[in-house]
Symmetry: C2
Subunit: 469 residues, 2 copies
Amino acid sequence: MSKDWLNALQSQFGNDRVMTETKDTHSYSFDASFGSFVPEAVIQVYTKEEIVKILKVANEYAVPVYPRGQGTSLSGGPLPVKGGIVIDMAQWDNDLKVYPEDLIVVASPGVKTSAINEAAGKYGLMYPPDPSSSHVSTIGGNLAENSGGPRGLKYGVTKDYVIGLEVVTPEGEIIRTGGKTIKNVTGYDLTKLIVGSEGTLGIITEAVLKIIPKPQFSKTMMAVFDSVVTSGEAISKVLTSGLLPAKIELMDQASIEAVENFKPIGLPVNAEAILLIEVDGHEETVNEEVNQIHGILNELGATDVVIPETKEEEQHLWMARKLVSPAITRVKPTKVSEDATVPRSQIPQMIEKLNAIKEKYHVNLVVFGHAGDGNLHPNIICDKRDKEEMIRVEKAVAEIFEAAVSLGGTLSGEHGIGTMKAPFMEMELGKAGLDMMKRIKKAWDPNDILNPGKIFTSDQNNELVLSHG
Amino acid sequence: MSKDWLNALQSQFGNDRVMTETKDTHSYSFDASFGSFVPEAVIQVYTKEEIVKILKVANEYAVPVYPRGQGTSLSGGPLPVKGGIVIDMAQWDNDLKVYPEDLIVVASPGVKTSAINEAAGKYGLMYPPDPSSSHVSTIGGNLAENSGGPRGLKYGVTKDYVIGLEVVTPEGEIIRTGGKTIKNVTGYDLTKLIVGSEGTLGIITEAVLKIIPKPQFSKTMMAVFDSVVTSGEAISKVLTSGLLPAKIELMDQASIEAVENFKPIGLPVNAEAILLIEVDGHEETVNEEVNQIHGILNELGATDVVIPETKEEEQHLWMARKLVSPAITRVKPTKVSEDATVPRSQIPQMIEKLNAIKEKYHVNLVVFGHAGDGNLHPNIICDKRDKEEMIRVEKAVAEIFEAAVSLGGTLSGEHGIGTMKAPFMEMELGKAGLDMMKRIKKAWDPNDILNPGKIFTSDQNNELVLSHG
């Protein structure tokens, strides 16, 4: 390669730091979603000044730039769909400081999400967002995608814990948004605009995160149902009874079976659904609420309610939930992971629609996820080499999006839009709504160099990516 | 008047609905902040289509448009500083619907904030944001300004409860942002961008608000201190002990005295500060936490801790806090109300800085407010007719902003920027940070017709508004 922009980068970073060999670039060509795109160059960065340099070059030569954490995105966030430069942010993991008196943490972008929670834990505090990948994923990636997790039901998602950011803008200016105060109404909320913007509006170089007191006690329960729809009704009833568990997770029969085949722990394989519920807080309150929930579950037709007596048994149940994703890919190699989300009252209706879609297209549809906040994870297990099957999968996915939107829901509750859902944005937002988002992108990134091809469709990306991923 | 834009409005709305007489326009010339600006026309609206019509005319003729709720803003949000059209949104108060199963409320912009909480209360639910003006102010105004209130300490502010909006853009397009789901990562978070944008990015015509189970029990306590700084240390200690009261409010000696002069209820007038603390939740938990807090307050040097035994006594204490604002204006007619906010650990330092500013400029500075989240309300009581005094007040205000920013804080925690704090934006945000905000404004409102003169300085507004308000 003898490209001008590459020469410019090499002269600034030295040849060694600008990785262009296939063995390196291929490691940055995929994430946990679908599709593979090889970048032309990769640079591991450790300071904001390095990012500024890269972005100045990228703007000068109009080269796309793709920031990347640990690549655990389920929606293609870091995929370099137009080639160009990947910035590996994951090595920049050395700054993590807890300020217990301010109830905040300050972290550099490559810090692992679970490390933040562990650091807070030393002071009896916690950082609540807990995406399944938190032991692998970086806080930078979590911020870009506004990651959720089971605890989102009670505690909210990543965005709810970000009070300040340091950001390099697409044109290479360093700005600070928000700050270290809990309340801040000084101008537009750029913090919450950047969090969840999937790396299209800036590269986050530091985050100020709110932490909270850790609940002193928690208890887990498993409720068994012979109808998924009934389990949805039970969730609704619990949440409208003045109770707010920390987590309510759903596993349908296919998830239960997949986990039991993968690593048997004695889940009820004949059940159509189980709910895993965790209640936390003050010990007496937790015990009383567990009793109340038990009563509601029985009343709503749970065939069994199991309350583990030891922490070890509890951990087994939660491990079962975490194993759903790896377990289902044992069945077939390709997993198309969705996270369409509906208003809580529509959970039973959404489950019925998902059943109908499964039948209609003969797809292997597995449903699990954060049912308590309406954020189901319908996953289709398939084989991307089977072209005929993939066409059915594409149609089923499109119909899942339509079902969610028709029930007053949204394309994505926590995984983000990325490339695959981009063609469906207008269906949810309308032309004018989508246009207002594009205006912001254009105003901030006039050369369209930062993570292009994400959120918004472009010439290269105006259909579902499945069949050519 | 025979202006073209006025003719255009009159031909669409009829002469009666376009109010231009001084007796009408003067009613819309002020808010709860400083300064008075008379608009050229006022229209009371009841539908989004009416707003679209007004904005189309405004863009065609480049006339400024100022949306307005009940005018309780403390930062000049609705002031028609460049004349033009005021849109009175407060009459549009007829839509308020609770969806208990989805834990949401849908409201039209003119609904009073307290009415939302009352409606939710019928289902055992609550809408937590509780600005002091909630019985008067509209939800539309609260959304535009991202209002806070005492309960913000535990429950967060307006923005934390908004999940969807219907908005008319500055150019008159109707868009929907977010939706009815708790989680949503479909594109940029326009909802949280618009909330708190002080009516400069769009006019909110409907809001979908999250509601939560109402805590079953609460208890209030009053702690008396002979040093304001010590009271700040006590707050810090409580919050880092794993305890999260619903409210921690501070009143300094000047506030206590003003209230006792206004309506005597037996507050300790010799104390340098009192803290009013409310703990809510499950009854046993509340009682245990009140005991823990009591212990901390004693340890940190409270000279007295009073726990009211009846709800009536509790209400007296909270009424005292609400009376601070009206009470202090008895001393002198003009109240310059600030809400600079600092990280929680910096509360004692901020109080010391405020004391120094009070001495330096010989101003009548009263400090009270939401100390638990670092959001103090330093108020300067003065007389705007006294030019010499107002110059000292201006200098003191500027120094309050500088003090907050130097401690890692922000110009405004909940009142907003409006006109008065606009000249200080760059001090906090830097040139590049402010520029990124301006880019959004310009991209959304190319003709600068929506609430111009707010947040950003313009030719007409490049200094403190005090001395010519």
